[in-house]
Symmetry: C2
Subunit: 415 residues, 2 copies
């Protein structure tokens, strides 16, 4: 079964906004086992949108459109699709009531006249209630073709898709598509592929796909099967084999679990607290930990010690260490971690010091050189990295590696 996306909106053509909807829908449709060969972006123009809809319906079984469902004159998606599929518009009383309801709880006292336009739907269409806006989603079916119309704002589109369109599409397929993610940190994509090459090569069902993220690699194992149980039986041994080969580089097998969530989960499990002492990352490691709701149980405090003076004052780094080895050194990283653990009374402290550039690099200490240390009781692990890329890239990679260092430190000392 083939699907394609039409993203409607002049603001997309002008580059005012990034088309995150297309990525979201692309990934979801792939997971549903639908084949996507085309994506199109068109502006708020009747003729060109009409052309795009006719072309798309001509070559694909399902066309998903986002955007152009608003109340203004510019919003043409519904009218254009109805025309292309030979359907008339009629008022949907249920939607009319919902719009009334929506505005009752809103700051506006009066309902703008043009909002009633949103209660008009193609006769026979399936109406999808939108809990985050006034434009309902719509599914138009005719002659084996389907047009699925969704509002453009991601915070309306995503819940509508996940809650109502996904189950609808799932039902169209004879087979169920189930997937599981293995998340890996500390290994490059080509290294991961090397280790999984024979598995990837012989894949048919389940399939294995790798995705490179900053400092991480995600491996998705996807199976197609008549029931969830059968799919699970197909997936489980493959996931097990991948985990065996990757060892402790695997930080999670949960789709929604981020690296910082895995770190917080692990700290909670072992009833440990962690602190941060950051120089070049300037608070971003702490920032990532605080991303996790409930992080307060394991993360109480951190230091951003960007200057040498601050490193001495708050982390008790020795003046001579800074003088002899420099701020970006194995020795300074180590003292920062020890000092941070002592100053906060935390079980662990991770410290990062490095040269993020663009200036300040030397032949001996080039831009991208980063030392990080993790202190846990008497033990201190120090690691040296030479990252590539600009200031932002170097810092991003440092943050990921620092979080992973905390994870590995807990694993090594608690298992």
């Amino acid at each position: 079964m083939t699907v394609e996306i039409i993203s409607v909106g002049t603001e997309l053509l002008l580059g005012n906004i990034l088309n995150t909807n297309a990525q979201f829908l692309g990934e979801k449709c792939a997971l549903l086992g639908l084949s996507m060969y085309n994506q199109t972006v068109v502006g708020d123009n009747r003729e060109r949108l009409g052309d795009a809809v006719v072309t798309a319906l001509g070559r694909s079984d399902i066309v998903i459109l986002t955007g152009g469902l608003g109340p203004t004159e510019d919003d043409l998606t519904k009218e254009t699709c109805a025309k292309a599929m030979g359907m008339e518009l009629a008022e949907d009383r249920h939607t009319r009531e919902r719009i009334k309801e929506y505005f009752k709880n809103n700051i506006y006292k009066e309902i703008p006249d043009n909002n009633w336009k949103q209660a008009m739907v193609p006769a026979g269409a399936i109406v999808l209630d939108n809990h985050n806006g006034t434009a309902p989603g719509l599914i138009l079916e005719k002659d084996g073709k389907r047009a699925i119309l969704l509002p453009g704002p991601p915070d309306e589109m995503i819940p509508l898709f996940t809650e109502q369109v996904e189950p609808y599409l799932q039902k169209l397929r004879p087979e169920l598509i189930v997937s599981r993610m293995v998340k890996i940190c500390g290994m490059g994509e080509s290294q991961v592929e090397d280790k999984l090459l024979d598995l990837i090569d012989k894949q048919t069902n389940p399939t294995i796909a790798t995705y490179a993220k900053t400092g991480e690699v995600h491996v998705r194992v996807t199976a197609s099967a008549p029931t969830a149980e059968v799919a699970d039986r197909l997936i489980r041994p493959v996931v097990k084999e991948i985990k065996k080969r990757m060892g402790t580089f695997v930080y999670s097998t949960k789709e929604e679990e981020t690296l910082e969530m895995a770190v917080v989960r692990l700290l909670k499990k072992h009833e440990l607290t962690a602190a941060t002492a950051e120089s070049c990352t300037g608070g971003l490691v702490a920032g990532r930990l605080v991303n996790v709701p409930g992080a307060s149980e394991v993360f109480k405090e951190g230091f951003v010690t960007y200057s040498n003076k601050a490193k001495r004052k708050h982390l008790d780094v020795n003046k001579n260490t800074l003088k002899k080895y420099g701020a970006v050194s194995r020795e300074t990283a180590k003292e920062m971690a020890i000092g941070g653990a002592l100053a906060t009374g935390s079980d662990l402290c991770v410290a990062i010091t490095g040269l993020a550039g663009p200036d300040g690099g030397t032949e001996e200490k080039p831009v991208g050189l980063v030392y990080m240390a993790c202190c846990f009781g008497e033990k201190v692990t120090v690691e040296k990295y030479q990252f590539k890329g600009n200031r932002e890239k170097i810092r991003e990679q440092s943050v990921v590696r620092a979080l992973d260092l905390v994870r590995r430190t807990v694993l090594e000392n608690k298992n």
Copy 2:
């Protein structure tokens, strides 16, 4: 003159990567005064790519293609465009030499055979040297139509476009397009539009467009003129008028200057140092400041005090204040800022404490409630915000407002 984009790559259709190239090119083309009506994404498939190229060349003057220029069998963009435009491929000796050179400085000892494919170019094409990879950019011209082929990785595509394609496109236009940005913080997009409504309504040349960013609004003023001087004469009074109406809400009129850059610039100008004391933002304000190369001159240190104990220990927040008013309160924010300035010896300290959720909200103190304070000498400004959205959104908005609070504090006390 019309332009359209074809993004080539199955990984885009599958949602593995976000199509940031299309946004970049969309914005650039709009700035160049080119009209864009269509964007297409196709996979690495000869037939479908061929169809897309023929359709695009049929309806637009210029077609920009990204991706599919690599050395593998899957990379078909060059061959497909050459065929569509009736051009033969021939080896380009200059490119062959460049590939040799590229690999000389690389970790690989031998040049993979298939890389020589990248030296083949359509006869008569303009070859654009790629300094960040082996695939050259190409411009194919025939019968008044132009195909511009660029590699897919943004770190190759963007420099190629900016350095070589942009000047080429600029020359095609009889008029020069010049634009300037006015960057605003602390005011919503609709408020900004309200204040500029008469200017926006009567706009022809220059035009005025607003762009909403997290916590910021960017206003772009764009003029079309025969010379840069004339364009500047058209733009200058409009920018001046916008600045007058927006007052100190304007933090920059430089395209490339971010909010944190403006804050660091201002601190440097007045020879001031700033510190951070963060609770719910967990280090992200410090992280933004450290984004700026050379921030070390004005930012030396910061605290992440996520727990009450840490607030007391490092920032000397009074136990009774925390007990009586709670961690998320005007009083605590104030004491955090004062304590942070004292503990670091900085001229300023900004403090943030709030409820980012998803749990922990009450009727009296709902999720999204954030207090921030900025201490400057004897003066402390405290501000209360009620942000909307999820944990991430609340924290992002808090970070922007905290940076802006530092900016406004300096302005108020130093002008």
